[in-house]
C-alpha cells in the first residue's frame, strides 16, 4: 500500500463504524416499529445524520489519500462499500420514519418482526437477576444468548451499550438476535441461576 499508514488506519476505523452503525440502525428501526417508540425512531434519525457525516468524511479521506493509479480500482471498491453502508442506513431511517410520521405500525409488522429469523426483543431486568451489578463485558450476553444488546432503557433515558455499562435492576434491555436466543435472555434477566 502506498498511502500513509495514518490515513489507512483512519479509513479502516471509519468503515468499521459505518458498517456497525448502519446495522445497529436497522435493528433499532425495527425495535422502534415493534414498540411503536418515537424516542427510538428519533435515535435512528440522529444516527442517520451521523452516518451521513461519517460517510462524507470517509469518502473525502479515501479521495485525498494519495493512492496510485494502479490502486484506483481497489479504492473504487472501498468507496462503493461505503455507499452500501449508507444505503442501509437510509433504509433504516425510512423504517423509523413510519413511526415518526405517526403512522400506527400495522399488526402485521409486529408479527413479521417477531417471527423473522433475526428478531428484536425486550426484557426487564429483575431485582434478583444475576445481571444486576454486572457490566456488559462481564455479563457476556452475546456469548451466552446469541443476542446483541442494542440499547438499554433506564427510566426515561436511552443508554447506548458500552462494555463498561453497568446493568441495574429495572433496566429494560432491547436486544436483537436469532429467535432461539430470546428465551435464554429472558432467563438471564429474570432469575438467578
Amino acid at each position: 500500500m502506498t498511502i500513509p499508514k495514518k490515513i489507512s488506519e483512519e479509513l479502516v476505523k471509519k468503515l468499521v463504524e459505518l458498517k456497525d452503525t448502519s446495522e445497529l440502525m436497522l435493528d433499532l428501526a425495527y425495535s422502534a416499529l415493534l414498540l411503536n417508540s418515537k424516542e427510538l425512531a428519533e435515535e435512528v434519525e440522529q444516527l442517520e445524520e451521523h452516518v451521513d457525516d461519517l460517510h462524507t468524511e470517509f469518502e473525502l479521506l479515501a479521495l485525498r489519500s494519495g493512492f496510485s493509479p494502479k490502486e484506483s480500482k481497489n479504492f473504487l471498491g472501498l468507496i462503493r462499500l461505503g455507499v452500501v453502508t449508507e444505503a442501509i442506513a437510509d433504509a433504516a431511517a425510512q423504517i423509523a420514519e413510519v413511526v415518526l410520521r405517526g403512522l400506527k405500525p400495522h399488526p402485521i409488522l409486529k408479527m413479521v418482526i417477531e417471527e423473522a429469523d433475526e428478531t428484536v426483543t425486550r426484557v426487564q431486568v429483575a431485582e434478583n437477576s444475576e445481571l444486576v451489578g454486572k457490566t456488559l463485558r462481564e455479563a457476556e450476553i452475546p456469548e451466552r444468548t446469541g443476542m446483541w444488546v442494542l440499547v438499554i432503557r433506564r427510566g426515561k433515558k436511552w443508554i447506548r451499550p458500552r462494555p463498561n455499562t453497568k446493568i441495574q435492576a429495572g433496566d429494560i434491555i432491547i436486544a436483537s438476535g436469532y429467535a432461539e436466543g430470546e428465551s435464554d435472555l429472558t432467563k438471564l434477566a429474570t432469575a438467578k441461576t
Binding site: 462503493r80 442501509i88 425510512q94 400506527k104 409488522l109 423473522a116 429469523d117 446469541g146 438476535g177
Partner: protein
Amino acid sequence: MGGLRLALKLGASKSMTEFEKVEYKPVPVRELLTEMKDISELMIDLAYSAALFHSKELAEEVLELESYVDNLVYLLNMNAMLAARDAEDAEALLSVTAVANAADKISDAAADMAAIVLKDIGVHPLIRRAFQKVEEQLTRVKVKSNSFFVDKTVGELKLAPTIGVDVIAIRRGKKWIIDPDDEEIIREGDVLIARGAPAGIEEFEEAAEGKIEKLEEE
C-alpha cells in the same frame, strides 16, 4: 433458519435473472414481508462474504436473490392494495409497504456490493482489515473429516443458541446451498459460510476443523 420459504410455493424459477411476468397470486402480506426481511438481511452478509472471500459465484447468488426480492415487492404491493377496504386500512397498510420498500432498498444495496465482485472493481485490502474489527464477523471454513459436524444436520448442531453463529451458505463441490434448512446434512469437505459474534466464530472454525470435540456453552 432456512429462507426461500416462499420460493417453492410461488414456483419461482432457479434462474430469476430474466424478468418474470408480474402476475397476481394470493399470498399473505405477512409471509411476503417476513421473507423479504429475512432475505434482504441475509443478502447483505452474503454480499460482504462474496467480497471478503473473492467469490463470484456467491455474488451471482446475491443477484438472483435480488430479482427474487423484486418479485416479492410486486406481489406484496398487489396483495396490500387488495387488502385495503377503506381509507383507514390504506393508512395502516402504508406502514407495511414502507417497510417492504426499505427491505427492497437493502437488497439493492447488497446487489451493488455483489457487482463490485462481479465487475472486478477490486476489494481493497483495507476492507479485509476493517472486517476483522466489525461486531458481526463472517467466516469461511472447510469441514474436515474428523469434525463432529460431519453427517449432522444444521439444526442438530444448535449453533445459533449455543454460540450465536448462523450458517448462511454451504458450498458443496460446485453447488451452493443458500440459507440452509435445519434439515440440511453437513458433509465432509463442505465449505461453510457463517456469521456471528467473534468468540462464537472462533469456536465454530475450530469445530469445523476438528480441533475441538464439542461446542462450549458459556
